[in-house]
Amino acid sequence: MSVIEAPRSQARPARKRGVNLEKWGWIYMRASGVVLLVLIFGHLFVNLLVGEGVKAIDFGFVGGKWADPFWQWWDVLMLWLALIHGANGMRTIVNDYTNPGTTQKLLKGSLLVAAVVLIVLGTLVVFTFDPCPAGSPADLLPSFCPAV
């Protein structure tokens, strides 16, 4: 008969010296969670409840928001905190439902790659975004773009 280990049993002994990464991960989930509650509720309120809500979202809407550094930093902070929070939560789930080995390494590696790639991509998009790309029809662009 196979025995189910107690829920908190460790796959390997905790490190005795240096930084306790699992403790800092635990703290990160709580600290980032509280900040994310504010950032995401604000994001949902501004994008879905103000005015026409989801119907008003288009290129011009995003261009108008990211013309303001306040919303650029709001979105970038949300991106970093949420992806690390989400990837770390998925890591917990992988730890719970897989045994140490190749599959577990592959799953955790995929989570790490997805998080890093999307954080870099998202940060570049927010800070290199051009709200008035040349050659685009003016009716698709924010109203502040100079008429060509």
Partner: protein, 140 residues
């Protein structure tokens, strides 16, 4: 002759009601809040992956972004957004419950009550969100 000779102990008339055996899952509020926290967390994670990619299309062209974001404005996706916001709101409030249970002895003792408070706050928040959002989605 003794009333109850050794070796013939009578079994209780009814076996004591047992907790479910062979499983780590104990049921009740604590387990269900944990299950819902996991399911909503995974769902939000996969939406986040897609949402970063669709937003990144602003860097491709206005036409590409508008074409994809337009699919978020259909009635079916509008209902999906209610489900997504419902998942986020539960995960957010239950996350606060977890923090309280971890850090505050009173909350640890009253985690069941806190679960029902989370549900109540979820209902109130969704009553504020869903009608307004669905009016936006279903009025052209």
């Amino acid at each position: 002759m003794p009333e109850n000779p050794a070796g013939t102990l009578t079994a209780p008339a009814k076996p004591a009601k047992q907790k479910p055996g062979g499983t780590l899952y104990r049921g009740r509020e604590g387990m269900w809040s944990w299950v819902l926290h996991r399911i909503t967390g995974v769902a939000i994670f996969f939406f986040l992956l897609v949402h970063i990619l669709d937003t990144a299309l602003v860097r491709v062209s206005p036409e590409a972004y508008n074409a994809v974001i337009g699919t978020y404005q259909t009635p079916i996706m509008g209902l999906g957004e209610v489900a997504l916001v419902g998942a986020i709101v539960f995960h957010a409030f239950n996350g606060l419950r977890i923090i309280l249970v971890d850090l505050w002895a009173w909350a640890t003792r009253h985690q069941k009550l806190l679960f029902y408070i989370v549900i109540a706050l979820w209902v109130v928040t969704m009553l504020g969100f869903a009608p307004r959002h669905l009016m936006n989605v279903f009025s052209h």
